[in-house]
Amino acid sequence: MSAFAHAGTPSASPFVSVKGLTKTFGGAQALKGVSLSVLPGEAHGLVGANGAGKSTFIRILAGLTQPDGGEILVDGRPLTSNDPHRANELGMSFIHQELAFVASMSVLENIMLGLPKRTRLGFVDWPTIARDVKPIADRVGVTAPLNAGVRGLSTAENWLINITRALVRKARLIVMDEPTAALSTAESVRLFDIIRDLRTSGVSVLYVSHRLDEILELCQRVTVFRDGQSVAELDGAQLTRQGLVEAIVGRSIEQAKKPASLSIGERVVLSARGLSRLPKVKDVAFDLRQGEVLGLGGLVGAGRSELARLLFGADRPDGGRMTLDGKPFAPRSCAEAVAARIGLVPEERRSEGLILSKSVAFNLALANLGALVIAQGLPLISPRRWRATTEKTMRDLMIKASGIDTPVGHLSGGNQQKVVIGRWLQAMPKVLILDEPTRGVDVGSRAEIHRLVRELASKGMAVLVISSEPEELPDLCDRVLIMAEGRIVAELSGEALTRDRVIAASYAEASGFA
């Protein structure tokens, strides 16, 4: 406990209390009056569908965005003006989904970034600072040496460094946005231990996540946002999975069921034999059939995304061969893969999937421009055909946007993901690869995306789904391949395709039992 010098005494009066917060962007009201309070030493959950206002709320709390109305009280005192520096001074720390470090600096330098540093004779006294920081880093479980560079550290390690940074800043509230999205199960368990440890020393955690099981395991109270309002605050006996889902969706929903796979044809569309790119992909062989949804499971770092890059022409294999429709297939660029009618929904939709400043119509059309021309062979695009195609896709996918000209950056995460998928719906490739299609997507959108993928397969598309969520693969796929350390180590289908088997296969092989 002594490592946390700022241990507070738990009490009933909230550390942070937000009342009636409102915010409008352009014409859209993102927050219509949300209230939330966090008690000292509490793990408080914040859940809600994408677009419910969670991100805006956090940005306001962090001082990155200014509210239009409402009030924020810290220790009972109203916060009249807020900016990132002020938020920090008041003891609020924020760990975002996309972690930001200065890549050229060491672990310690990143931890101390922006903090006043002890000096000796005018020089920064790094040895003394390191001595002060070391116990905190140890307590949190940072294994990288403090003087090591941050380049190449794992996501899990980055999270631990960020938590250390928050504690060095004497944070009393740490806001974590989708912390486990990129962590393995074991790493998540470690994070939960740390959060419990923080609580006992009076530090509060605001835990934002779509993973309801984690919320239930970790949080004492949970606030639910829906459509820019705080619609429920659950605790104690009210805090159940069913209760959360109903509050998030606003109605009770049936568990989406996988339809019988009638669509799988005999014809192999994409096949690989002995495919390698060392050290990440080793001797991979598989057949992907027409109308099939094939899953690719395994732990983060098992080589799945690297395999997808080979299939999509982003990297060249250094061994093995592929065939597409029975003909040799060796794409030298993504453009060649797309020309051969392969589509990819990348893992990072904001940085790799979308052009955020451009409109929904623009982003949807990007892989299908050839079909929008006035006449075959003419390079001119028909605005009328473009509008009609866009509106049809938006209807089919239920993409929520104020118009086809809305910049895609203004959409919620689930709707952004639908735009990336909709792009390929327009182009109708033979093979569609989806990398983590529902990461950071709310329960409702997730079900819609799953339905969409099944629908594409029923139309004869061959689909490859990469997912790190063990629940997702049995829900969605006809057959699942498990990768570990670059190899395919298991194939699951039919009765054998269950969540538990997926997890067991991922871990068994990774720890060398094969």
């Binding site: 965005t65 975002h96 989904q97 993504c334 990819l344 999937g353 910049p407």
Partner: protein
């Protein structure tokens, strides 16, 4: 989420919309205001048909080179070689006509081809060697200055320029409109259609917006970037040839100053009608602002130094308005 660069100021939604409108239309208001003020101050010299035609004629060469630069910046790169390249093209086209005795059309075709080749070189250095475009095009531009001196030994080619070549820039066509205006109109229309209404134009915009996403959507990003440089290089060649025709000589460094004019026009344009996004029509309006400004300063007999101050100041204002537009679009 990771953009921690600054907090948005506390503005009411109405004020934000108002500021957005201001940012988008500020350049057009500025242009109108300038024309009105000059007209009031100099009612007999400024607001005449012949002066407006004169201004458009002046603007033509700047607009063509700025139009080309617009394509380079839309694909997300800068092209600093265009001014030096235009100078070289002017020297070369004159030399080819006067000394090599090539037919005028062939000579112009040769410089347009060279312009495209310079674009390919710029593009390959940026995309394949991964050299930052500022450095790459500055280096290529400096090499071009050297080539220009090597070709002409720095001596202007004046004697023996045929009348027919001079007619290219000095002649008039339909309704007595000077040829450069007609050429400029064709170039602007062509570039606008290319960027806004063709499939490849959408790919050009995508590459500038997010190259990683464009790549994964199947766009041949490197080829599109090279295309941007090629169009920039060809427009520089056209401006260089027209300038040589207008001046009646091929002079080393004659077109160098077009670089700054083009940059100011392109950035003013990005603040026009759209939030900090580069586009052809915006560049056209940006060019008009700059050339009307010069014209006004000339009519009032402002000293030469004031033109440099005007140009430097307008470049800064242009980039400022452009980033203001982007900030408002994001908040």
């Amino acid at each position: 989420m990771t953009d921690l660069s600054g907090s948005t100021r506390r503005l009411s939604p109405a004020a934000k919309v108002g500021l957005g409108v201001f940012a988008r239309f500020a350049t057009i208001f500025g242009l109108i205001l300038m024309i009105v003020v000059f007209s009031i101050l100099s009612p007999e010299a400024f607001p005449t048909f012949s002066n407006f035609i004169n201004v458009l004629n002046q603007a033509s060469l700047a607009m063509i080179i700025a139009g080309g630069l617009t394509l380079a910046v839309i694909v997300g790169e800068l092209d600093l070689s265009i001014g030096y390249a235009a100078s070289l093209h002017g020297v070369l086209v004159t030399g080819l006509i006067v000394q090599t005795r090539l037919p005028i059309a062939i000579a112009i075709a040769v410089v347009l081809g060279l312009g495209a080749a310079i674009g390919v070189v710029n593009g390959l250095i940026v995309t394949k060697l991964k050299v930052n475009s500022v450095i790459a095009t500055l280096g290529v531009g400096t090499i071009i200055v050297g080539l220009s001196f090597a070709y002409s030994a720095g001596v202007p080619i004046v004697a023996g320029v045929p009348e027919s070549f001079l007619q290219l820039a000095l002649g008039r066509w339909l309704f007595g409109i000077p040829n450069p205006i007609i050429i400029m109109a064709l170039v602007v229309a062509g570039l606008w259609v290319l960027v806004e209404r063709t499939a490849i134009g959408q790919e050009i915009q995508a590459v500038g917006g997010n190259p990683a996403a464009a790549l994964l959507a199947g766009v041949a990003v490197d080829r599109i970037k090279i295309l941007g440089f090629v169009i920039s290089g060809m427009c520089a060649a056209l401006t260089g040839a027209l300038l040589a025709s207008r001046l009646g000589s091929g002079t080393t460094s004659a077109a160098d100053s077009y670089l700054l004019t083009a940059f100011a026009a392109v950035f003013l344009g990005s603040a026009t009608l759209r939030d900090g996004e580069f586009h052809v029509l915006g560049t056209f309006i940006g060019t008009l602002i700059i050339v009307f400004g010069f014209n006004g300063l000339n009519i009032f007999g402002a000293p030469t130094f004031s033109q440099y101050i005007f140009q430097g100041a307008i470049l800064i204002v242009a980039v400022g308005l452009s980033s203001l537009g982007r900030i408002l679009a994001e908040s």
